[in-house]
Every structure is written in structure tokens, then in C-alpha cells.
């Protein structure tokens, strides 16, 4: 039976990743630990001392951890959709090599998204285990929260990819991270409830894919009521994935098959 073509792309990403996985698994483990230590426990002690009733009813560490899970997934997705894609097009030119074979542009993009999903899954899984180690939530709840994290990660990968294929050089990518990814990371309800934001900023937070992931992860981990119905967030994030992937196809074709 023939291997689905997109999966062959996934496979080649995996083969390549084998070369670098040690370093990246270590950092995907170290990052959450450092953040949870510094922000969750360090900063959290201060927050908890001032808010006896807790942040949204729980300790700051418990409030922060599920948000960070979604944020880590988001950043992993952005990473998969940016420098790596640029390298495949411009520097390594590995996509040109693939497209000279039976692999087509659509297979390529689907395969890359499949791979991004796998990377997000890996990173989220590690994060979930760290959450258990920090006694934020029991194992099954932590594992459930991987679901929304995966959606956010792939949504970001797809959206970022559709941007990366449109730009000429990596200066734009640095700007993208500075003005889109980092602000999203800071102001989507990961570190504090978005009700703390000025009124006029709050709707912007609602638009970000990250906020939807955060509210779902938090609902699952903390056990609070979701702010809006999860199916709306799921549909919204799925929309980002579909739109991002679809919008990436034409510019990919234009650049790789002029």
C-alpha cells in the first residue's frame, strides 16, 4: 500500500529531527520547569500573599501552569512555521528537492503541518508531565489539556507558515516575533486574567488563538467554568488551521514552482 504522500514529508522531517532531538527535548523540558519555578513559585508567592482568595480562585502557580502550556504550544507552532520554513525555501532548499519527486506542493504543506502537530504534541506532553511534577493537576487532567494546546500550536504553525511564505527575508520574521508572537504571549491571559487589561484591549485578546487555548486548558486543569463554550474555541482554532494552511498553498506554489 502506498504511503500517503504528505506522510513522506512528515517522515523526512522526522529523520532530520533525529539529528537535533536531544537538544530540543532538553529545552522543551527545561523551559516549563524554569518558567514554573520563577513565575509560578517565585512570583506566585508574592501574588498569593496579596490575594488570599487566589487568582480566579486558585494559587498563582495553578492559574499560570495551564496558560503556559497553551503558550508553549503556541510558540512551538510559531517556531515550526517560521525559520524552518524560510530555511526550506531559501537556505537549505530542501523543499525544492522534495518537489522534484512525486511530492506536490499540497502534500508538502500538509506534511509540514502534520510534523508541526507532532512537535507541538511532544512539547505539550513534556509540559503536562512537568505540571504533574509540580502538583498542579493530576495526570489525566494534565493529559486532557494537551488537546487544546495542540489546536493552538497547529493554528499558529499554519498562520505563521502562511506569513513566512509571503515574505522575502528573515528580518520580517524577527519583526513578526517581536510584534506579534511576544505580545500575544504576554497579553492573552497566560500571566493574568485579561479582565485586568484596559477595556479596549480585551477584544484583541479574544481574537488571538492563544487566548482560546488558554481558556480551554485552564478550564480542564483548574476545573473552572470555561469563559466561552469550548466548542466555539475549538471551531475558531480549527478555522485558523484551515485558513492558514489554505492561504499558504498559493504562495508556496508561486515560490517553489515559478
Amino acid at each position: 500500500m502506498a504511503t500517503p504522500v504528505a506522510f513522506r514529508v512528515f517522515e523526512s522531517e522526522a529523520l532530520w529531527y533525529r539529528r537535533v532531538w536531544r537538544g530540543s527535548v532538553f529545552s522543551s523540558f527545561l523551559n516549563p520547569v524554569l518558567y514554573l519555578l520563577a513565575m509560578g513559585l517565585g512570583l506566585g508567592t508574592l501574588v498569593d500573599a496579596n490575594l488570599p482568595e487566589g487568582v480566579e480562585g486558585v494559587s498563582y502557580l495553578t492559574f499560570l501552569a495551564p496558560g503556559l502550556l497553551a503558550a508553549t504550544a503556541m510558540q512551538t507552532g510559531a517556531g515550526e512555521g517560521s525559520w524552518k520554513i524560510m530555511a526550506g525555501i531559501k537556505w537549505r532548499k530542501s523543499y525544492h528537492a522534495k518537489l522534484a519527486t512525486p511530492i506536490g506542493v499540497r502534500d508538502l504543506v500538509f506534511g509540514l503541518m502534520l510534523w508541526a502537530a507532532f512537535r507541538v504534541l511532544l512539547v505539550s506532553f513534556v509540559f503536562a508531565i512537568v505540571m504533574v511534577a509540580f502538583r498542579v493537576s493530576p495526570l489525566w487532567q494534565s493529559l486532557l489539556a494537551i488537546g487544546p494546546a495542540l489546536l493552538v500550536g497547529v493554528a499558529m504553525a499554519a498562520a505563521t507558515t502562511s506569513y513566512t511564505v509571503r515574505i522575502k527575508n528573515d528580518v520580517n520574521l524577527a519583526m513578526y516575533f517581536r510584534f506579534v508572537v511576544i505580545p500575544m504571549f504576554l497579553f492573552s491571559g497566560v500571566f493574568f486574567p485579561i479582565t485586568q487589561l484596559p477595556e479596549w484591549l480585551q477584544p484583541i485578546a479574544f481574537i488571538t488563538p492563544l487566548w482560546h487555548g488558554v481558556q480551554m486548558c485552564r478550564a480542564l486543569v483548574v476545573g473552572v467554568e470555561p469563559v466561552i463554550a469550548p466548542w466555539i474555541s475549538i471551531a475558531y482554532l480549527t478555522g485558523w488551521i484551515v485558513a492558514g494552511t489554505a492561504l499558504a498553498l498559493a504562495p508556496f506554489r508561486r515560490r517553489l514552482k515559478p
Binding site: E11, S12, R92, S94, A97, L256, K257
Partner: protein, 307 residues
Amino acid sequence: MTNLIEARGLTKTFGDFTAVDAIDFHVVEGESFGFLGPNGAGKTSTMRMIGAVSPISAGSLTVLGLDPMKDGPQLRSRLGVIPQEENLDLELTVTENLVMYGRYFDMSRSEIRARVDDLLEFSQLTEKRDDKVEALSGGMKRRLTIARGLINDPDLLILDEPTTGLDPQARHILWDRLYRLKQQGVTLLITTHYMDEAEQLCDRLVVMDKAQIVAEGSPSSLIEEHSPREVVELRFAVGVLEEVSEQLDGLAKRTEILADRALLYTDDAEQTIHEINEAGFEHEAVLVRRSSLEDVFLRLTGRSLVE
């Protein structure tokens, strides 16, 4: 004999710019066919259309009986492509590069493994099989790219400037490998800047210049048709060439004045040299050689091929 490639009025435009201008050619099974031309002639653009990685703008093109615009994946599964720009995976080993490429064609791992040893041997890389590609020399990388292009046992091998940038020794090794493929009956499509390469490897070729085909034939027939058999090259001291260029005119069938020397095309070099001596030119050196494709190119385009 069947035509593996048939192009009629094949055209490629990028915006207002025409990179390939309505060219006609065909390639027969088992032959090795060359595209000879200077930078920007449109060789790569043509190869990419044949390789089904660039849509054709006008005209018709059939490759292996398939339409590259419609049957892209099916066609590409039967091609081997050695692109002008290197795109090996530098972080992976030689063997891994071959395995990965084989997987793109959905070959099973055992199928690939069975081929890898032969391909490594063929490309003289057996010793390097577990080395990272990063550490290979330019010639080795090029041979690996050819091995990679052969992984799926292609019906047609497209080589876009296989030896550009290699030193003479590496070039000769590569020519030898390509010659073997030709002996095995593989149909080769080769683009090159180099006349000697075309003469060595091609049964038939087209000369391309400024998006058009300006001549077609076997290397020897092209030389016969467009250039007398022999060339007398005369070198002069600086400044003298301008003075004597007019007097040189009638001496041979055709005369080309280059920056540093004059080329006299003739069917009888001995006679020509005799006449030159009679006329008493103060040349510094005389060289007699066979006419080559370089001379054909000069004749057809008025420019030398590699500046």
C-alpha cells in the same frame, strides 16, 4: 525509436520577460541530449518545465508520453533530477540522504537498501557512506546528487550543469560516471556551458542563446556545418591586432577578431599559415587546432561562450 520528450513552441515567461521563446526539440530514447548556452539562455527554465516543477507558459510539451502540467506526480516518479543548485541535506549522512530521497518515491526501506550499495559504489562514495554531507568536497556532493537522482531507477535523467564549479579532475571523474550511464542506456538530458563537455557527452545537442535555439545537431555535424575544419589562432603584441585586422580578412574562410588574438577558420591550415607568412605579419604565436563547438557558438552568436 520513441521520443521521450517532444516540445513544440515551448515558451516560458516570467511577467513580461520571456525566458524560453517558442523552442522546438525532441529527445529520443537512449540518447544523450544537450542544451548548450551561456548564462541566462533559458536552459534551467527549460529543464524545470520538463521536470514538471514549473508550469509551461505556451506551446506543448510531452515527457515520457505524459503531460507535465497534468500528470506531474506520475511523471516526476520516473525522472531523476540533478538540479543546478545543490540541495542535499547537509546535516544528514551520505546514506541518509539517499534513504530519505528514496522514501519520497515511496520505495520500501529494503528496496532502498538494496540500491544504496550499488549507488555508493557507482558514485565512488562507499567510504564516505556514514559521513555528513557537509564534510564532502564539491565533486563528491555532485556525485552524491547524481546517485540520489538515480535512486528510483529513472527513465530519464536531467542534469542541469553537472560539472559547473568543479576542478578538471572532478569533472573527468563525473564525465566517466555519466558515460557509464549512457552505456547502460539511460537517456540523459544535460545542460552545460562547456563545449568540451557537450562534445564528450552528447549525441545530439541544441545551442541556446537568448531564450531561443540557434542550432541543432550532433557535435560533429554542428562543427561541420558552422565552422571550417581547422582554426589558426594568431596572437599579436598589444596594439598590433587592430592595425592588421583588416588585412587578415581575405586569408581564411572566416575571421574572428577577439581581444587578444585572431581566429582564422580554414579547411587547410597549412596553406593558411603559408599565406600568413608570405604576407609577413608580425605575430607572436601561431596555434593550429581542430574546430570545436566553441567556434560554432562564436559563429552563431558573435560572442564567446565563457567570458
